[in-house]
Symmetry: C2
Subunit: 180 residues, 2 copies
């Protein structure tokens, strides 16, 4: 069911992505235009304390122009390993650090429109080691949330970022398969 | 922590979205550029048969240029109610119909970069009522998957679309709160 790309053009570029327009042909000979956001891979990291709290961040999100409650997340830098990016984003966004990072898998944020993947980690036994190190466009509230209260926050819509939900789903499935 | 938009410009338009560039100012006086994809709302619908299978679709996704296994999904049309869109997409993509649609909540696919939300439904007691009605850019394999086997498919990465994972997470939490 693959389509072949007949022609491709970058129609817009900015610092964090390029927008590409493809002209593609299906195996039945149909041709259509598809747009793809070329963007770097992401990490999402679920920071867990020894007393079973998740260190979450509340921040203003410019897409929906509202505050969201999410797990720490960010771009994997050029040449950086995903686990290094996860520990870096954890430290920068929250001021917490972990000595035991576990990979939970990878998901595609939007396989129809975007070409990137998001690597998901759980950071065990996190502890505060300093102040957050935000860049000039970042400002967050650090909110430790009891892990046992997460399902109710998802059901109520208080946690509503699909990538945070996917990460929590992976953690939940891992924990049910291998109880701590 | 809200930012004020100082200036806004549409830098690219196509059939399914517009790309907007905002110049915004934080409450501390920082100014930055942010890009937002203005795009319509989506629905994701989990079709459940009476014998506990999920009717999933496998299709070529142009963002990652690979096949994915997902629940039926699509745009809410202009003026259409989300539950109508869910039943329509279910019928068009799979040929199945349901007489009992239940809303599970809404998630934000990407609150940083996109302005839309995705309404999530479960369609109970679905049954095949005809052939799928794909548009010319659609072609799918219809794959009934035992609900009990979903966790292993998520853990193995065989199901990897973050929106499908978020939908399955909502279904799982609803079912654990209100066992059938």
């Amino acid at each position: 069911m693959r389509w072949d790309v007949l022609a491709s053009e970058i129609v817009y570029r900015c610092r964090i992505f390029s927008l590409r327009r493809d002209r593609s042909r299906s195996r039945t000979g149909q041709t259509h235009e598809f747009h793809v956001l070329e963007i770097g891979d992401w990490v999402n990291v679920i920071p867990l304390t020894t007393d079973h709290r998740v260190i979450m961040v509340r921040q203003f999100r410019h897409g929906i122009r509202a505050l969201t409650l999410e797990v720490p997340a960010g771009f994997v830098d050029e040449g950086e390993a995903p686990h290094t990016a996860a520990l870096r984003e954890l430290r920068e966004e929250t001021g917490y650090a972990s000595t035991r990072l576990e990979a939970l898998g990878s998901v595609y944020p939007n396989p129809a429109l975007m070409n990137n993947c998001c690597h998901v980690f759980v950071a065990h036994d996190v502890a505060e080691v300093g102040a957050p190190q935000w860049d000039s466009a970042e400002e967050m509230l650090i909110e430790p949330i009891p892990l046992a209260g997460i399902p109710e926050l998802v059901l109520s819509g208080a946690i509503s970022n699909a990538l945070t939900l996917a990460a929590l789903q992976l953690l939940d499935l891992h924990r049910r398969r291998t109880p701590a």
